[in-house]
């Protein structure tokens, strides 16, 4: 198992290298001159040129790339042009918001998504199955940002149950206000994941229920609950764990958009503002941190996989 993990880690190195080069190239494609953006529209050409030199933008691309790498090697992800702070500290400030949102959303998603999938598979082709599948289909078809706006109109403006926007840190108001500020965006975000997970779980469970060992378990008189919870459900979890990485990726991707709707000061907002302000060290650094995080998450998912499925460990 240790060797397996080391192999996964060694595969991750070229992936991260390629990803960093891609992010670097991407940001140098951005239209508009960051020096011009910083200097403002009234600045003289000399002033713009001076800023360009200060930022090192006048040097060849390859030199900039190598310099960037040498900074990355010592954990320096760059300085934001507009926020007057380092990318790491800018991300660090906003990370708790995005993590909280993703966490609450995941807590909503996992039991409901997996539960619905299991229920639908168990009562396959019944009206329960039909309804669950319609709901799951709606979940993956409704645009989250639109549902978010409608939800604010109804639950915040009309009923006044939740704050329409903003974030209350856990350390400031305690669990109640924190959860109140997150529950609406988290549930909206969860709709897609629930639909996605319910569909995957259902088809995985259907596969398992058709296996001989389920028939054997029933034939030898194992009670239905044990058959489902021990024999069927555990095997259903294997394909479900494989998509956990995708689920997290969808979750964070979705939160980028949802943060705009609910004005949550998270990483998604940071990136979008960075793009609109042409603050490319910020966008570059943030994207890179995202990439690193997901490579690590995917390795962790692989490790969980070996725990859930012993065949992988010995195979």
């Amino acid at each position: 198992m240790f060797r397996g993990i080391m192999m996964r880690l060694s595969q991750a190195v070229p992936v991260l290298l390629i990803f960093s080069v891609m992010v670097f190239m991407l940001m140098h494609l951005l239209p508009g001159d960051p020096a011009l953006a910083i200097a403002g529209p009234d600045a003289s050409p000399e002033a713009v040129q001076k800023i360009r030199e200060q930022l090192g933008l006048d040097r060849p691309l390859i030199v900039q790339l190598l310099e960037w790498f040498s900074h990355l090697a010592v954990g320096n992800f760059g300085e934001s042009l507009t926020l007057k702070q380092s990318v790491i500290s800018a991300v660090g400030e906003r990370l708790p918001v995005t993590l909280s949102l993703s966490f609450v959303s995941l807590v909503v998603t996992l039991p409901i998504g997996i539960g619905l999938g299991v229920v639908a598979a168990y009562w396959r082709n019944s009206w329960i199955d039909a309804w669950v599948m319609v709901l799951a289909l709606l979940g993956v078809s409704l645009p989250g940002f639109w549902v978010g706006i409608l939800s604010v109109l109804y639950f915040s403006v009309q009923l006044g149950w939740f704050p329409p926007s903003g974030y209350v840190p856990l350390t400031e108001g305690g669990v109640g206000p924190w959860l109140a500020s997150l529950i609406q965006p988290a549930v909206v975000l969860a709709l897609f994941q629930i639909g996605f997970l319910a569909r995957i779980t259902r088809s995985a469970m259907l596969d398992v229920l058709d296996q001989d060992f389920i028939r054997t378990a029933r034939a030898k008189g194992v009670d239905e609950w044990t058959t489902i919870s021990k024999h069927a459900f555990r095997n259903t979890l294997i394909p479900v764990v494989t998509v956990l990485g995708i689920t997290l990726s969808l979750l964070v991707g979705g939160s980028v958009v949802i943060e705009q709707v609910f004005a949550l000061p998270g990483i998604g907002r940071l990136i979008v503002q960075g793009i609109l302000n042409r603050d490319y060290p910020l966008v570059q650094g943030t994207m890179l941190l995202f990439g690193f995080a997901f490579v690590v998450i995917n390795i962790l998912v692989d490790i969980i996989y070996t725990i859930v499925d012993p065949r992988v460990r010995y195979g």
Binding site: I18, L137, I149, V272, I275
Partner: protein
């Protein structure tokens, strides 16, 4: 003569198989539901000019009109007719969805069969695909879209690039299985070139999963395009993209709820239709993933 007979019967079998697939699709409930939804939307999009109204024409005196017999979906803050704008939005969204599905399908398929056929290319291509998948697809698309500038074709390229790795992996997986079958060995022994093996054998055998995946990419692309437009990285206003209409209508949502309501329904319906279509295709074309018993 004998060869001709064999060929003819081979074609007949292929034709019969196609016919059987078609019949299965026609009897598949979710495929037909999706097909009807998508067909109606395509027709509606094509009929947009029939309303006889310019989607960008502003009539200040007709601002914020709620839905009525004249303006079925109401009017927006500039007095533009929202029914017309939503129809033109369908043109834009369906075009972007189709272009993204085709582009990511073609490039993804090429990468997929290339890495299955040439094992040396495989690890390089797959590491590049892994790198593209390192960040969430929507985030990659936001970055690319911003880098390429706010235009329709940059949205198409950005979304296609974001979905290429997934398609490539699916085609590669299918081609790797096909590759081990005996008829590929027979083809190789009889002197078929790598090109011929890739495009005559590996690719056609991956066409089922490829088509299914492309249908889902179509649905994702419609949702993602709307999200990009909403953030401000889509086709620039006054383009009547559904995401744009929702973004513009949002600030007036409390009084004029209808501005953002209908385009949202349109997005949901289009994505729902494509998802239903994809479910049906998957059940019929990709028996390994078949979930109905």
């Amino acid at each position: 003569m004998a060869e001709a007979t064999i060929l003819a019967s081979g074609e007949a079998i292929a034709a019969r198989r196609r016919f059987r697939v078609l019949r299965k699709l026609l009897h598949h409930r979710s495929f037909m539901a999706g097909f009807i939804i998508v067909a109606v939307m395509v027709i509606a999009a094509l009929c947009a000019p029939l309303t006889g109204v310019d989607p960008n024409q502003m009539r200040v005196r007709l601002r914020f009109r709620p839905p009525s017999e004249v303006n079925w979906f109401g009017t927006d803050q500039f007095g533009r007719d929202l029914f017309t704008r939503t129809l033109y939005g369908a043109q834009l969204s369906l075009w972007i969805g189709l272009a993204v599905a085709v582009l990511s399908g073609v490039v993804g398929a090429a990468i997929g069969v290339l890495s299955a056929q040439f094992r040396r290319l495989d690890s390089l291509l797959m590491r590049i695909m892994d790198a593209l998948m390192a960040a969430p697809a929507i985030l990659l698309a936001i970055g690319l879209g911003a880098a390429l500038g706010p235009q329709t074709h940059s949205v198409i390229i950005a979304l296609a690039v974001a979905y290429i790795p997934r398609t490539a992996r699916i085609v590669r997986a299918s081609a790797l299985v096909t590759r081990e079958l005996e008829f590929i060995e027979a083809a190789r022994v009889s002197g078929a070139s790598s090109m011929r093996i890739m495009f005559k054998h590996l690719l056609p055998n991956a066409s089922g999963p490829l088509l299914v995946q492309s249908t889902f990419v179509f649905a994702f692309a419609i949702l993602a395009e709307a999200a990009l437009s909403f953030i401000g990285i889509g086709p620039p206003p006054p383009a009547p993209s559904w995401g744009n209409i929702i973004a513009e209508g949002r600030q007036f949502a409390v009084q004029s709820w209808w501005i953002m309501l209908f385009p949202g329904f349109a997005i949901s319906l289009a994505a729902l239709g494509m998802n239903l279509l994809g479910d049906g295709l998957r059940d019929v074309l990709d028996p390994r993933l078949k979930v109905e018993s």
